[in-house]
């Protein structure tokens, strides 16, 4: 069962530049900031209420995030729903015939995560996440 919006992902050219607005001007606290090497992104999570905003800066040019930035510019990239069992959500999606990007949950910035293919939701990229106990955030 999806319990809440975990975060919304925003693709930016420079996380440092974007932090001037999201951290400094809005005053949102940073809860995580790290490079995910295999995804080729730097991800920065900022807390807002029970959810977060995730800034995504590509660290190389051959990734989906980099291609998104090149073709569409900065802006909203995906929406992530929290679940207490991401594997169960993924299996339920498979049973419904929903096209998947990830065939199994994997570790991401938000915990154990997986993505549904945007074709399944009229172009909207959807992520499921189950935070890992002891990790940052909610």
């Amino acid at each position: 069962m999806l319990t809440k919006i975990h975060h919304v992902g925003i693709v930016v050219h420079s996380a440092d530049e974007a932090l001037k607005f999201y951290r400094d001007a809005l005053g949102l606290p940073v809860t995580a900031d790290r490079v995910v090497e295999d995804q080729g992104v730097r991800g920065v999570l900022l807390q807002i209420g029970n959810s977060e905003i995730e800034l995504l800066e590509p660290t190389r040019d051959d990734t989906g995030v980099a291609r998104f930035l090149a073709s569409r510019g900065e802006g909203m990239h995906h929406i992530c729903f929290e679940s207490d069992d991401v594997a169960k959500e993924l299996e339920a999606a498979r049973q419904k015939g929903i096209e998947l990007i990830d065939q199994a949950p994997r570790v991401g910035l938000a915990g154990m995560i997986c993505f549904l293919h945007p074709r399944s939701n009229h172009g909207v990229l959807v992520e499921f996440a189950t935070p890992i106990e002891g990790q940052h955030g909610h």
């Binding site: 809440k4 919006i5 809005l26 029970n50 959810s51 729903f81 419904k96």
Partner: protein, 140 residues
């Protein structure tokens, strides 16, 4: 004030050429319950709403979908709830952001202000509930 005094993401807007179809897909695929639909006064835009805890998902589309057109949607914008919208607007302007003056929102008693620059490609707005008297428009 700590930053702009934002309390939570109030809503996330998903824009499309057929809000009803997109809301139905999200309901079917993700199990989201569509709690309300409405026509936006003035524009005729068709809106549908789902809510997860404090965050509303707003599905927005034109008054009439074009028959036969492929349904396309995208994440469009974010609205943050703030405690004091005038103070929040002043702070963002002090940071060099272009921000519109607060004006009455569709939600009774609420004021909304649009952040027009500095957001890194995200249409952005602030909303304060119980900011004005719905009856008189005077500050609450």
């Amino acid at each position: 004030m700590d930053g702009i005094g934002a309390t939570h993401i109030d809503h996330i807007v998903i824009a499309s050429n057929d809000s009803g179809a997109v809301a139905e897909t999200f309901q079917r695929n993700l199990g989201l319950e569509i709690k309300r639909t409405m026509t936006r006064p003035g524009t005729g835009a068709q809106l549908a709403f789902a809510k997860l805890q404090e965050v509303v998902l707003e599905f927005a589309g034109p008054p009439e979908p074009k028959p036969g057109e492929e349904v396309k949607a995208r994440l469009w914008g974010i609205v943050l709830a703030v405690r004091d919208i005038r103070a929040a607007v002043d702070r963002l302007r002090a940071f060099g952001c272009e921000v519109g003056d607060p004006k009455p929102a569709v939600q009774p008693g609420a004021l909304i202000a649009t952040v027009k620059s500095g957001t890194h490609g995200v249409p952005f707005a602030l909303i304060q509930y119980e900011a004005i008297s719905p009856a008189t428009g005077a500050p609450a």
